[in-house]
Each structure stands twice: as structure tokens, then as C-alpha cells.
């Protein structure tokens, strides 16, 4: 049985405000959760949020004074709608069997596989509250209001 759990994921957001939190609703097993189960649920939530944003991005967005100020501070004001050159590139590559990215093209199963593979390779860490959730460690309870941290890493080498 799965239940919907409202958790907050730490994200770094607007400059100067430092770390903030955003809410995620995850479908999780009712009791303790393994790393794999938590990652699957988080990926599902991210993919559906992404697809909603992608649909929104295909519409032209009219600026407001508030959004304009915030966008300028981040260095980019995006307005949505068609982008130049994209149709050209689509036509150019259709014959070669290439597919360009577009809204709604993310397969959830692929996204989950990619995330689990990356986790197995140590490309990110997961914390629930104060505790790290590992592949071989114990399952942890994730309840309403739990704080999650997904920390991205890269493999390093001497050069």
C-alpha cells in the first residue's frame, strides 16, 4: 500500500536567500522506505512536474514587473513560445533518426533507471532528516513533513 507523503526538499534558490525548501508530494510505502523506493517516488514527482512546466513553456508568457526583476537578477528572461532555429534543426535531423527533445518525451521508466544507476555509482547522496539513506543501509521512516536532501556529486580523478 502506498500513501501520499508531503515532504520538503532542500533546494538552493534565489541568490542571497541561500538554501530554501520546496514541497514535494511523494507516493511512498506506508512504513519504512528504502533508498530505491524513495528515489523512484522522487523521480516520478519530478518527471510529472517537469512535464507540466514543459507544457506551460510552449505558451507565451507575459511578464510582470515582479517576475522581470527576479529574472534579470538570474541573468535570463525567458518568455516561452517557439524558439528560432528549432524547427530547422528538427527537419534537418528527422531523416537521420535523431529526435530532438520536446515536451512530454520523458519516459518515467527510463528516468527511474537512470537515477538508480547514478545512485548506485555514487553520483548522489540522499538524506532523510539527519540520516543518510544508503543502498545497503536500513530503510528509514519518511513521514509527513520530513526534510529530504538530494545531494549531487561527481566522480573525481587526479590529473
Amino acid at each position: 500500500m502506498t500513501v501520499a507523503v508531503l515532504v520538503s526538499a532542500t533546494v538552493t534558490g534565489h541568490r542571497r536567500r541561500g538554501v530554501r525548501e520546496h514541497d514535494l508530494v511523494l507516493a511512498l510505502p506506508a512504513r519504512e522506505v528504502t533508498a530505491r523506493q524513495l528515489i523512484e517516488a522522487a523521480v516520478a514527482a519530478e518527471v510529472s512536474a517537469f512535464q507540466a512546466r514543459a507544457e506551460e513553456a510552449s505558451l507565451v508568457r507575459v511578464l510582470t514587473k515582479k517576475s522581470l526583476g527576479a529574472d534579470l537578477a538570474h541573468g535570463a528572461v525567458r518568455t516561452g513560445g517557439p524558439r528560432d532555429g528549432v524547427e530547422f534543426a528538427r527537419a534537418e535531423f528527422a531523416w537521420a533518426g535523431f529526435a530532438l527533445a520536446g515536451p512530454g518525451q520523458v519516459r518515467l521508466a527510463d528516468a527511474v533507471d537512470a537515477a538508480l544507476l547514478a545512485f548506485g555509482d555514487g553520483l548522489f547522496k540522499v538524506f532523510v532528516g539527519e540520516r543518510e539513506l544508503t543502498d545497503d543501509g536500513p530503510a528509514l521512516p519518511v513521514t509527513d513533513g520530513a526534510a529530504l536532501l538530494f545531494l549531487r556529486l561527481v566522480p573525481l580523478a587526479g590529473a
Binding site: T10, V11, T12, R15, G18, V19, L24, I39, A42, V43, A45, E46, V47, F50, R53, V62, L63, L68, L72, A73, H74, G75, A76, V77, R78, T79, G81, R83, D84, G85, V86, F88, A89, F93, A96, F98, L100, A101, V106, A111, A114, A115, L117, A118, L123, F124, F127, E132, L148, L149, F150, L151, R152, L153, V154, P155, L156, A157, G158, A159
Partner: protein
């Protein structure tokens, strides 16, 4: 393509190029263009900017070219004092009219010959202005080389094999925008995907990057707009990376939180650096560039290994920025330097 449609396509491209180049149109030029059957209706839907930065539509009452209304209430009809240019979002921000122009155009439902009022705008961030002449905004984003080349070419860029970069000349400013990729777009092997490695601007025929605050705002915006397009569409993950710049303050906050959770007591901060007291030595990691130094001593060359991007990961990361991930990984590695097994890194730490 029928001849009329072809002429319209050419006219649209020419007007967009005139906006990017900020070509000046005299009243005589405009009077001539208004007799052109294809161009004339296009001129009426574009917003123009005067020498002193006022944005207006063009009118043609009484047969003479003049400036009419601003975005809000009706303005006075008057002949412009000097030449006019096709306005860029840079000008709408400068005279505070962007929101009003968008609302006006949206309500009138008029189609512009190219994306002008709803055009994307890119400006240097505080971090970019402080961080030297190369913008690192898109660094680490991997792209499909063939798609990227097609997109770059369609936007007037050319890839050079010897320089390992793609370049777009902004002739009217005497500037060239350059995007480096590693490996180069033309030299890339099948299995390797090029990653963006800096966007910079040089004078023509020169490779010395100019400070970003010296780059004319229209040229900066247009170059970054093209790179953003390539990164969003030809990225190697199948979905939009929604690239955003990360800052050193946010990285410091994340390093602090990570150290607390992992109970690593040997990580501190000094200015723009994380300072790590390991068992084999003391190190600093720069929160902007990720450069590692041994204290006292020189730079320690530790770099991201291989392809760390295997497409976008749909995980709600605290910070998705590849440079942030590199910095956190370095801090964690050095905080437990006694656990390092990689002989190449150990050699670097000892030398």
C-alpha cells in the same frame, strides 16, 4: 516556396539582423522602406528606439514618418530628432516599458515579423561580472554535436576545428562571441559528448576575451540566447536542463549543511573558499571555480572524471549545477583524505 513567401522570409531575417546589429535608419531610409509592399506592414508592428532611448511605434499620418504612441497612453506625434533603431528588450528594460509593450502587443494580437517584444533577454549576473571575462553559466552541459552544429549554423555561428570553438561575429560591434566545448564540436569522437566550457567575447581576429561588462548588452544577450537554445534543445539528456546560474553563497550554504549531516567537523570557510583540515594536509576549494589548493603550497589538480552527465537526472537535487556538484565532491573527498585510494589523486596531494 512561392516567391512572395520567400521575399517575406528574407525581409524578416533582414529586419531581425538590423535589430541585432542596431543599424540606424534615417527618416529617408524609413520613407523608402514604407513604399516596399512586403516590408511596410512589418515596420508598423515593430517597436523603435530613438537616440535618447525612448521606445515608440512608427506612424505614417500625412505621408510623413513620425513617432506615435508609447506602450501606454497615446503619445504625441512628432518627427524623431535623429535616426531610429529597431528596439531590443535591452531598451525596454532601460526605459521601463517592457511589461507595458508585452501587454499592448498581447491585447492587439498583432504578429511581429520576428520575436521582438516577446524575445528572450540575457544579462550578465553579478557572479559573471565578478568572475573574469568568461561566462561559466552553461559549463558542463553536454550537447549532441550534430544537433548543436545544425542549431548553431542556423543562428549564424561557425565551428572552427583548430580553435575548438564555435564563433559568431557581431560585425557592427567588432566583436566575436565564442563558445568553447570540450572536446571540440568538430573533433569529437563517437562515444564522447562535448560539454560547454565557457562563453567569451573577443575582438575580431583576436583571442583575448574582453571583460563581460564591456560587451554591448545586445551582443551579450543575443550570443547567450543562442547558447541557451543549443543547451536546451541539443542537450544530451533528452529533456530541457533548465539551466540556471548558481552562486558561491548558495554553494557555501550547501557545503555547510552537508558537513553538518555527515558530521564532518574539519570544514570551515574563508572568503570565497571552503577550507578543509585533512589528516594529510590542509586544503582550500574555491567556491566559484572549484580550484583546489594545498596550504601552504600550490594548486592540486583534481578534475571531474569522465562523463559525469549521463543525461539529466530527474532527482530534486538541492543544486543541479555541475560546478556545485564538483565542489561538494571535492570538499567531501578532501575532508576524508585518509580514505582516498585513487593513486593519481594521492600523488597530487603529496607532490
Amino acid at each position: 516556396m512561392p516567391a512572395a513567401e520567400e521575399a517575406a522570409t528574407r525581409a524578416r531575417a533582414a529586419l531581425e539582423a538590423a535589430m541585432v546589429a542596431q543599424d540606424a535608419f534615417t527618416l529617408a531610409d524609413l520613407a523608402g522602406l514604407r513604399r516596399h509592399p512586403v516590408v511596410a506592414p512589418m515596420l508598423a508592428t515593430l517597436v523603435w528606439v530613438t537616440e535618447d532611448g525612448v521606445t515608440r511605434l512608427l506612424g505614417n499620418a500625412f505621408g510623413a514618418v513620425h513617432l506615435t504612441t508609447g506602450p501606454g497612453a497615446a503619445g504625441s506625434r512628432r518627427a524623431p530628432a535623429g535616426p531610429l533603431r529597431i528596439a531590443h528588450p535591452v531598451h525596454f528594460v532601460a526605459d521601463g516599458t517592457w511589461v507595458a509593450w508585452q501587454e499592448r502587443l498581447f491585447k492587439s494580437a498583432k504578429r511581429q515579423p520576428f520575436k521582438q517584444v516577446f524575445r528572450e533577454l540575457y544579462v550578465p549576473t553579478e557572479e559573471e561580472l565578478m568572475g573574469g571575462p568568461v561566462s561559466r553559466r552553461y559549463d558542463g552541459h553536454q550537447i549532441q554535436p550534430r544537433q548543436a552544429l545544425a542549431l548553431f549554423t542556423s543562428r549564424g555561428w561557425a565551428a572552427a576545428r583548430d580553435a575548438g570553438d564555435a564563433a559568431r561575429a557581431f560585425h557592427s560591434y567588432g566583436l566575436v562571441a565564442r563558445v568553447k566545448t570540450d572536446p571540440g564540436l568538430l573533433t569529437v569522437a563517437e562515444a564522447d559528448l562535448p560539454a560547454i566550457d565557457g562563453v567569451s567575447f573577443t575582438r575580431r581576429g583576436d583571442y583575448l576575451a574582453q571583460p563581460l561588462d564591456a560587451v554591448p548588452p545586445v551582443a551579450f544577450s543575443e550570443a547567450m540566447r543562442d547558447v541557451d537554445l543549443v543547451v536546451s534543445v541539443a542537450h544530451a539528456g533528452g529533456v530541457d536542463p533548465e539551466a540556471t546560474a548558481s552562486t558561491t553563497e548558495m554553494r557555501a550554504a550547501l557545503v555547510r549543511e552537508t558537513a553538518r549531516l555527515l558530521k564532518l567537523g574539519n570544514i570551515g570557510f574563508a572568503g570565497q573558499h571552503a577550507v578543509i583540515t585533512g589528516r594529510l594536509g590542509e586544503y582550500s576549494v574555491h567556491l566559484g571555480s572549484g580550484t583546489v589548493h594545498r596550504r601552504p603550497g600550490g594548486a592540486v589538480r583534481i578534475i571531474p572524471a569522465g562523463s559525469q552527465h549521463r543525461g539529466r537526472l530527474f532527482v530534486p537535487f538541492a543544486d543541479d549545477d555541475p560546478k556545485t556538484a564538483e565542489i561538494i565532491a571535492k570538499v567531501l573527498l578532501l575532508a576524508r583524505d585518509h580514505e582516498i585510494k585513487d593513486p593519481a589523486i594521492l600523488e597530487r596531494l603529496r607532490s
